[in-house]
Symmetry: C3
Subunit: 261 residues, 3 copies
């Protein structure tokens, strides 16, 4: 497992560089890939969504995730063993949605100081624990050498959605760079329920719009609201050639209701 | 061709990471280089300038570019075969100015689904078409296996400039991070016409300034307007130790007129 | 020395990409690591701090740093030979604090045009001098082949601190992404002087606060001011779950006085 991916809220800079230096010192052959270092500071749910939505596209890899408001306050450090890949990070839910996609087999608590740096900073486990653990795992060290199995790890999900004959309810879980609102409503829920091309009622944060359910952005008039399926197979509220977040004044956590007209 | 460069308007984050995951799954030996992911959303001209100005410094490589407002609306996907390198992206002009620098030999339309992901998202060809195509090309697959030659590809240029005895006219095509205004006026046009050290009249967006034509920034007084040759061999309007864009209120598209005083 | 790190004020984009292209053309096996490209434009001290705080975590490497307001104005280009690593960049102090950490042995002025690009842009030594020099060094070329030893290189430090029985004085040298204020007061100065858990008087920029000296952020009440040791072993003024920079209106250069209550 030569590939080691990194996802943090550190910003691209010297903290991430220190992590890479530690990894390359242990495994000079590691192929390090930056996934995202601009997770909003301490926003575990956003980090979890980033990991959830893109780790599935990687070959078998080591995935390190650090969004860690509880660092130094006693929360555990974990390895999540999945079908072909290993995830490393804090036990705060961050790694769990992605791990379920990758086939979660066993969670291990990191215990063995032999795979940590000799002196562990209480504020920078990314550098002193997760980086050396990830590098050793990429060299073939087994999770069982690094720690002990646990069952009571901290979970996290993206909330529930509901489907009735007349409406589907869910919520915005991510706003992308283009202002598209990604919801927690899966492709399966909407595809049987509405037809492509169908005009639907769309409520976001209590305000009402109407727009078509489409396979792509660009067939709608410029500036119009529309529903589409995101590249992560989730229902997405978009504005053609514009920002849905700005036009609808919506952000993460807003309720979304899609209804028959 | 182990090097695969990436230029997009996705922002550095999970979309780019998905592309890297797909590439590494197909060619684990690929050396992926991020060129720029902060092209302003859907700004094809800016993306084209980024590619134009820096691909020339790479060894023979695969270059993937994705600034793609028309994704899913029927525009073609292309490979541009150049003297030593291959470019992959949408058929919207994005790849063309750089390809001319690299020696454009033949444009191919991507056709063969064998080199795409099994299910192609209508909104994310970067992940589902361009990434696997780029990875296969880097493994030695020939463009002729992936598609068919076309002649009617979409072109793009950076506008024309004119030179008379008394003035040179062009336009701002890029504003860099320091606020320097890069124009479409080539080194050849200005170097014969003015002498280094000569004081010139400079109009930007209809407002008039005066400043010297210099070989470097730092010989001018702090805050003064000056003309120099950018590292891409284009005439550049700069402010020493400051931002020309801010001081002159100028941005991409503004007309630039340089005159004899 | 396969690893080449890059630290600049260019922003992640086409200028950095050009540098990577040049490096990969000379040494296709180079493992390029981005340290930070968002050093504030022309802020040599910030760049020096970035290098100082993170190069120590790398295995023996080539480190290239470019924050270079004097480019083209006659300042020298240097290689700093340290115990196991080599640094390349302008002779303006940028590389010196990090070099002292890595064991500065000898500074060399870059002289030999054989290791530069044939035509050197006066505004982009990063691409035309530092990149090819770094790539050749990573291939095993010795500094003595590239240049000549010098002794009168430009130095830089982070200011002094003072310790009395009643107070420690220093200054803010870096504000991180979370708004933590990193000072130039080393761990050794504070650890003997105060106890973990002790309540101290904290003056920042002339305004007075009080807060505990802690081993970590998260044991303090949310929003409260506290002192801790940064991951670089420097005293840090923080606000738990908040930004000290915002709350205290403080930035780089502000005086910090820690006193007994």
């Amino acid at each position: 497992l030569d590939v080691i991916t990194l996802t943090t809220d550190f910003g691209m800079g010297k903290y991430v560089a220190a992590i890479k230096g530690i990894i390359l010192g242990i495994n000079p052959g590691a192929r390090i890939v930056d996934v995202d270092h601009n997770v909003r500071p301490q926003n575990i749910r956003e980090g979890a969504y980033v990991l959830f939505s893109c780790l599935r596209y990687f070959p078998p890899s080591i995935h390190m995730g650090v969004v860690d408001p509880g660092v130094g306050a006693g929360r555990r450090n974990i390895i999540v063993e999945c079908t072909d890949s290993l995830l490393v990070g804090p036990d705060n839910g961050l790694l769990i949605p992605a791990s379920r996609v990758l086939g979660l087999k066993q969670v291990w608590e990191v215990k063995n100081p032999r795979f940590m740096r000799p002196k562990v900073s209480p504020t920078f486990h990314g550098r002193d624990i997760f980086a050396p653990v990830a590098a050793h795992l990429s060299l073939g060290v087994a999770p069982a050498e690094v720690g002990a199995p646990i069952e009571d790890f901290v979970g996290l999900d993206f909330g529930s959605h509901s489907v009735t004959e007349w409406e589907i309810r869910g919520q915005v879980i991510y706003v992308d760079r283009f202002g598209n609102l990604i919801t927690n409503i899966p492709r399966e829920a909407i595809e049987g329920w509405a037809q492509f091309g169908e005009e639907l009622a769309i409520q976001v944060g209590g305000r009402a719009y109407a727009g078509p359910f489409q396979t792509t952005y660009s067939t709608a008039p410029k500036g119009s609201v529309l529903l589409t399926i995101s590249s992560s197979d989730l229902l997405e509220v978009s504005v053609n050639m514009g920002s849905a977040s700005q036009k609808l004044g919506a952000r993460e956590g807003f309720e979304v209701v899609v209804g028959k007209t």
